[in-house]
Symmetry: C2
Subunit: 193 residues, 2 copies
Amino acid sequence: MTEQHFLNNVFGKTDMTKKEKEIAISKFKQLTFEKNSFLLEEGKTANHYWFIQSGFIRSYVIDTEGNDITTNFFSVGDIVIDWPSFFLRNPTRENIQALSDCVCWQLDFETFQELFHSIRNFREQGRTTLVSSYFALKRHSISMIADQAKDRYLRLVKEKPHVVQNVSLKHIATFLGITDTSLSRIRKEIASE
Amino acid sequence: MTEQHFLNNVFGKTDMTKKEKEIAISKFKQLTFEKNSFLLEEGKTANHYWFIQSGFIRSYVIDTEGNDITTNFFSVGDIVIDWPSFFLRNPTRENIQALSDCVCWQLDFETFQELFHSIRNFREQGRTTLVSSYFALKRHSISMIADQAKDRYLRLVKEKPHVVQNVSLKHIATFLGITDTSLSRIRKEIASE
DNA sequence: AGTTTTTCTTGTCATATGGCAAGTTTTATT
DNA sequence: AATAAAACTTGCCATATGACAAGAAAAACT
């Protein structure tokens, strides 16, 4: 476990001691996912979470009318986790799918519990991460009400330019709450400015 | 601290022992808030959270164009907390306001931290509550994309009938992401069915 | 009880976005 | 290279919801 380990970046900003980080990092297992493969499928219970070292991932739900709605995008450095399923131990409604070949670091629920209850700073970190996810979701939710589709798109371009460049238009559209047709028109309008 | 204490309901379903519950409950302080008074204001950092014994409360933000958007409603038994501000120790963007006279039980951040790190089941409970809030927010967010305004309203009526009956139309409207005018028309349409 | 303020309703018209279908371009597959 | 499949664009028209303003009803205040 050298200083060069990818997860040292992820845990870089926490208050964990060097020793604590080593312990935590040693529990993670490297995995690769092929493009279009699933990390989690609707109906199953999340027993792991991951940090992405490379690639793009999305989560999505199928709504009551059968429409595929992207709920989030994940890329390098992000935590990929279904919070409710992982912590409430319930079957999930979401699917998590690799949009490209991905390299990830995986931790399972039991090991997480061990670390969570034994290392105070690991749990402070976990709480912070969860709250940050909550906050991001809230901002997205408010943006959905307060902003026009075009402004939501421009905000996404600003916040996650690499996602906009690497993910297909239809997935971006459903994430923004519009159709692919509308997003195509919005892009055209922006290009002509 | 008798069995009759209001907070025994709140902590009823947790794995905490009787003794642990007593310790936790003894740290809460009863407070009353007058209608229209603020529990938290934009720009300040949340140092407390509350459980509602009676009354109605809402949280809201002011968007970039000055519009008031309700982000949540709280009523009897609910936890009232600004997760990001409370845990990340940041100034909040939200306002939390009593919509009627309210009786609440308050806990401050420092006491929370003590309980969180010393009582394992208190922290499991805290994590569960946070994740449940996350889940509710996600459902609301997806509903915003997948459902028509009328369906969102009907869902709210079903999930929080007492809120719909006690809160002014304009606040319900912004929570649903529509104007008060539209909500008034939706209500009319439903009434005529 | 009377007055003011807030809340809710309704009309007219404007606009953002959707639905569908036909092309076009790009990407994947053999 | 040829073919198939997926992704993206564009046109036409439909529709949900918004903007604004005027009344009506209800609630708050003196």
